[in-house]
Symmetry: D2
Subunit: 268 residues, 4 copies
Amino acid sequence: MKLDVTATLTYGFDSDTQVIAAIEAARSPDQTILSESLTISPDAVLVRDLHPETGERRFRAALSGQVEIRYRALVDNGNREPLSAAARQHDWSELPQEVLPYLLPSRFSPSDEFMRFAQREFCSIDGGGARILAVLDWLHEHLDYVHGVSHAQTTAQHTFIDRAGVCRDFTHLGIALTRALNIPARAVSAYALDLDPPDFHAVFEVYLDGRWWLVDPTRLAPVEGMVRIATGRDAADIAFLTSQFNCQCLAQTIKVSRAPEDAGLQAA
Amino acid sequence: MKLDVTATLTYGFDSDTQVIAAIEAARSPDQTILSESLTISPDAVLVRDLHPETGERRFRAALSGQVEIRYRALVDNGNREPLSAAARQHDWSELPQEVLPYLLPSRFSPSDEFMRFAQREFCSIDGGGARILAVLDWLHEHLDYVHGVSHAQTTAQHTFIDRAGVCRDFTHLGIALTRALNIPARAVSAYALDLDPPDFHAVFEVYLDGRWWLVDPTRLAPVEGMVRIATGRDAADIAFLTSQFNCQCLAQTIKVSRAPEDAGLQAA
Amino acid sequence: MKLDVTATLTYGFDSDTQVIAAIEAARSPDQTILSESLTISPDAVLVRDLHPETGERRFRAALSGQVEIRYRALVDNGNREPLSAAARQHDWSELPQEVLPYLLPSRFSPSDEFMRFAQREFCSIDGGGARILAVLDWLHEHLDYVHGVSHAQTTAQHTFIDRAGVCRDFTHLGIALTRALNIPARAVSAYALDLDPPDFHAVFEVYLDGRWWLVDPTRLAPVEGMVRIATGRDAADIAFLTSQFNCQCLAQTIKVSRAPEDAGLQAA
Amino acid sequence: MKLDVTATLTYGFDSDTQVIAAIEAARSPDQTILSESLTISPDAVLVRDLHPETGERRFRAALSGQVEIRYRALVDNGNREPLSAAARQHDWSELPQEVLPYLLPSRFSPSDEFMRFAQREFCSIDGGGARILAVLDWLHEHLDYVHGVSHAQTTAQHTFIDRAGVCRDFTHLGIALTRALNIPARAVSAYALDLDPPDFHAVFEVYLDGRWWLVDPTRLAPVEGMVRIATGRDAADIAFLTSQFNCQCLAQTIKVSRAPEDAGLQAA
């Protein structure tokens, strides 16, 4: 599917605040960036990062005062396959080395605390893919999507008790339960078609049968309509803006629309 | 039922450590103390407290070195009725004033965090008693009784996630869920028949239909065979020993046995 | 000092929401209520509670829709003495029985976690009053008064780390440190002269030398200008409004002013 | 310095438990492995991992029953320079891309919670190296080295409040405070000379002036006498043994001794 993405962020910064931004579509094998532009007003010196393994990109800058960051991209996200119930779970010794960190507990997804619950609830289900589909069903059945009950420090434990949250919270609990089943899981930030209201989206990936599979625990957007930005252990790693000091969000607009299948050809 | 209770506690204290002990059977309306003795070796000056409402008793002392506290009592605990499914839930305005604090969240039973879960899980069940019986069934089904997975600072949130604990943990989660249903609940320490291994037991009471009902969320001991000691918001209030500084438990033996129905008559 | 207090609270409730309100000045020995009025619009059936020991008052009601609660009182709060450095610390065995619960950790003031810090920081100071004055100096020096960094579930631990908060947070940390020094402490809600902006105030009391002493860890209002409402282990016990379900605060106005010394005589 | 390291670990595993072990000395640029041997009894199939950037090594295996893992190495750890007060702090934009994750909060070192404290306490000190030396002095002055007050889930927040812990806890708080000053920090596991009793040691590294500097916040072992094993965001990443299910430590012996300067030549 071809997707047209626009993000416009206006922030207020104290003088010379160092920031790291992850808002550009990843140059990952599963999506192709047909065209894109990034503009900062007023202009700023950018240090650009490209992760050699995942293709995710970040830029660094020292920003002052009111700054508008505008990113636009036309992305072909190929043909995302939904998670198959038949996808096989690996023994740890079969996993690629770079996947191992995603087996471990992290701050917002402390999977070690959920071992007993995950074993009790999901271990009767056979096979990796089917097990994760059961986790996703459990999340859908037991959590309410509610704004205002969580914040940037909310952990999977809190969400498990409170039974409510937003995409970030669904994702953290999903990751914790997946890792508690000894299956690697990582957080993914994305632009998503059909998200209402449009916003950055937080979803996750599980590693089964030799590859990562993207899943949306909120069921608010189809995985076929997602453009990946960054990946990490949990939300702390994939923040779209990390700043040295507090900064103020003045405005933020995200637009994602389906582009015609021949889009981008003229631009080439 | 008539019960013969013996508790022998040997502790090591730094010089002149102030302590508060709650090990004597309560002089509560639902049980009669037929005879009892309390000895401290070496001897110590005791300040004795009797709570005017609940009849629970504590003693205070300044203890030094190795001290043996020995309590023995013959108690007739009357005829404890098990919680009735038909017991009616009160509106807050009908409750006696002294019951109101047991509606509130406390440190180990922060019921405010469980509101959504309790509503979702138990609100379809009609009536107070039936609702609490459903809570007890839920605890029985979802928690494992396991030593060593919890400690003195473990909260109901942790137990809810970890799905395991000891009597104290079952009680804290039971209290939290009960209060989250707007029903008063309080922690009770007790001597219990048939507890294996014998130990102080932590159970709780719910207020329905104009009275407190004793329940054991672990199902390890029959409520008919319990001798009440102290009551409080949660375990912090009913500790059998609170001491100003750390102290060392050197030995502790609890014995509870059924006494013949004519026991205590000679002693009278 | 004579103080004229007016509180006007407008809330939105779901149908028949049970509430407990603690907004009336306490009939405690240290203050005299010269005149007062409480009006609820629309009218509601109230259950009135008076605590036999502390003189604090609460009312219970089942409220629906938009409700205005208006309380006005003229109170003579006598002559509050500031905490004396010479006030003597009691051994536990000297304390009145009803003071003992205020030695124990509570949810927002878990004093057991602060034992080592309190001993290290304050134990070189001799005497109860001087020690608490040192605690108050420490709070003043190390905490910033900042809105928006804490919420209703914030604990003393968080405030100790974050080094910022509002009156409730200063009070919780002050109580935790006091209890960690083996001195009883309890939370107090109050109307306070000179508080800017005017609001319910949270302060605390310490028990030394045979009596409770009121202190304001924020130093935002003089203790001589306070009218006591309720007391408890921490903020959970002294909430001005506890409701069965979520409710919405639509407006809230507090006014406290000094009344002329002859005020209230005509009313008598 | 040349160091002779022996680690012998005996564990009990359920049948076919997958494990990841990080006990081999890292092939990092700052140390040379002159000779080494790794034996597992009974024998097991090992998958060996070498991290391309840090040179750290792990092995994976499926283990059953009682297993002895024995590692011996002769390592020349070169000439570790102690942290210089003059070491310069970098702007974020100057940092190598792979260093950026070590600016972020992690589970046991949630630096975002310590921002205000770190700014208040250390920001008057000029320059990166001097600032970190002040952090190390603060840890030395305010924390007690005490066994038994912390466990595998203890966070820097708990240690900051409790003012006591072991090497892991000192390291977590040191990392949190360093990151709160906008300086990258990472956890390091090591074999350490002079550690009493001998054990795996947890220390940390700070990134200043274009390189990582190793520091020991416990001051229990000289950095010159350390052999690096693994690095990570916090202790979760550098565990010497991560296992799929609970396993039982039956025995563990670590020996580190200084080898003569001509050691290893014969072995070559």
